[in-house]
Symmetry: none
Subunit: 211 residues, 4 copies
DNA sequence: GATGAATGAGACTTCATTCAT
DNA sequence: TATGAATGAAGTCTCATTCAT
């Protein structure tokens, strides 16, 4: 049971986090100043430090929030009574949209982890959420495997694989010239490999046959 | 024909870049100071600015250097007389190792691009190299398609796809707890999807059959 | 109507500017560091940047302040009901004292303008004040011309002329060994030329008569 | 008797000084780097320090050179057999041109003197030249006074006065918007005051007559 | 004698965090 | 509780001067 005080505090924290996320989706964590966040949240700069211990902590909560939201979406859009193929389809779309919007957060997360500037406690929280997401994804695969619709591989492996594919797609999108707009093409590409793999069946290894 | 002066300058630039890369592979670009690089290269701080116009330029050259090295490796390890499957195998391994070692550079590159803090000229150079890498990869696929070893898809699409897959693999590796060590498992995973895709053949879309 | 906040801010700005002017009257703008100003104003270095965008801006305000003060003095000491000669006398004294005290600022202003290191906006403000000073001076001359006390020349021309005379006096004073102290002599000199010019009346041009 | 060595050294010094002056007439001393001068003189940066002890010393010699040249011009253009009025005319023109071209040097000289960054020895040399210039100017006035063409004032006083007038003219020209081009107008203005002064003859001091 | 690579002090400026009100 | 003024460490970059070749 949480007190009114507590609830009010949580509400304000959420307001700040929303404002932060609005900024983080346009500029990198490093390029957004604490003052920017304060202004966007319509609070004083000092006030933020009553709710969060550091800029990193705001970031951490911001990431938590969007990951939570992603998990909720997956649960809603990939229910058990949907065919595995349709669920997979939705999974891909949800992940794609997620990274398209909040992908910026991950390079910064990496950086902080790498530089040790992210409190271990804060990171653990995020890691838990990422695991939950993987778990939800794996459940979709499990159903598909059970129904003999997907290849009989480890469901967690497949879950992580799908995730990688989408991350890679987005990140290369960032690296390369703007691929904005051709979402359909991007998704089509993912579905192609998801359906067929790359190598034709029946092919054998070894030196080139016609050489 | 370049003068001795020119060659000496290039050599020193390379020394600085090597030192920078040593640091960039341990800490992020943002966490490494110009003074750090100078010390690592055993030069004075000011000396660096005789060779590079800014910290960003050092970064850019560092990235260029490793990308160039990657291209050279691909050319060497995936020659035209190797079977496409073996070449693909090598491609995966080379890319994997590359991102494992220098993947740190990309989050920072992304950040700079996002924040517009990377000079357009510097970025163009890097983009050219990334394109060259894609082109080299596509050539491998082309040979495989011609020999009817790979699925008959657009070779550039496939090249970009493979790249994404590896990036995603590494980046999630960074995100998650250290997956260091199980390189074999990671590669195995990639090869699985490359061979089979995820969805079994002959499957149809729609509501679950047994629901 | 300005808020308390606004007024406090202006007050603090003024404190900083006063401190800066104290330093600028002893050393050149270039030789005074931002940290020096901060220390003199008893503020932290960073605090200054909450009030001014750059060192140049501090300089600009410092100059503005003293020019404003000069204009106010002229208005007070040269009212319309004073005889033009007395007003001219006061003008000369006020300008002389002004350049004696704040003349240092002008070489730096020149330098910045020459090197283009002074923001156009900042400069415009100063230029406006300089024009206002000229205008006030011209008014004194106008009255004198109307009363047939001064020669019937363009009042603005005369205003600028007087200004030049004083500037020159002070600047040469700077160039040469310290002429400090003989203020009376300097002023006397100016008044001499103001009264008589240099060339005797009735003189003609050409080769020397007694040669 | 100076050796060939000595003469060669002096020649090279002169080359450097010329190059420096070319730059100093376009940008301020502070904005011109030692490297700029070296490049303009087509010498290596280090070489300059074989001829001059410091950047300030180069500046000092540069100023010396142009002052010397000015003195020579005065001697040539204002010979004893020219009428005082014509000589005065030439004096004004020569000084005007001089400050127009090399006036930039004086603000910097002031700054150095003020900040104590100019070696006393170097300054003495310059001061001597300035005195010589004043002396030459005074000689013109002396002849005019003797011939009863100029007012019977102290010739040195008049000399310094004329100098101030021109300095002031130029410096205000710098301060204000570009007055470039209307050289004729500027000179006309000086001649006006030189001829007439400002105050009409026969005027008395005191309260305004018609008030 | 000539060179320019190397140096490092020091300049300006930013920004996360603290703290008095 | 809310604030934003104050802080100062730390960052990047410049440039006069030195020195080994």
């Amino acid at each position: 049971m949480i007190s009114r005080r507590e609830r009010e505090k949580d509400f304000k924290k959420q307001l700040i986090v929303e404002a932060a996320n609005r900024l983080f989706s346009k500029r990198s964590f490093e390029a957004v100043t604490v003052e920017d966040i304060a202004r966007a949240a319509e609070f004083g700069k000092g006030t933020l430090y009553q709710y969060f211990g550091s800029k990193e902590e705001i970031f951490s909560y911001a990431l938590e929030t969007v990951l939570n939201r992603l998990c909720a979406s997956i649960e809603k859009e990939c229910p058990a009574d949907l065919t595995p193929r349709a669920a997979l389809n939705n999974l891909i779309t949800l992940n794609y949209r997620f990274y398209k919007k909040y992908g910026h957060l991950f390079p910064s997360l990496l950086r902080m982890k790498l530089d040790g500037s992210l409190n271990i406690g804060l990171y653990t929280e995020i890691e838990t959420l990422i695991k939950r997401r993987t778990s939800l994804t794996a459940q979709v695969f499990e159903r598909g495997i059970r129904d003999k619709v997907f290849i009989a591989a480890d469901s967690y492996k497949l879950a992580r694989l799908l995730n990688k594919l989408v991350i890679g797609l987005i990140f290369e999108g960032f690296e390369m010239k703007a691929t904005d707009g051709n979402v359909e093409k991007d998704l089509e590409l993912i579905k192609l490999i998801v359906s067929n793999g790359i190598i034709l069946k029946g092919e054998t290894n070894g030196r080139n046959a016609n050489s």
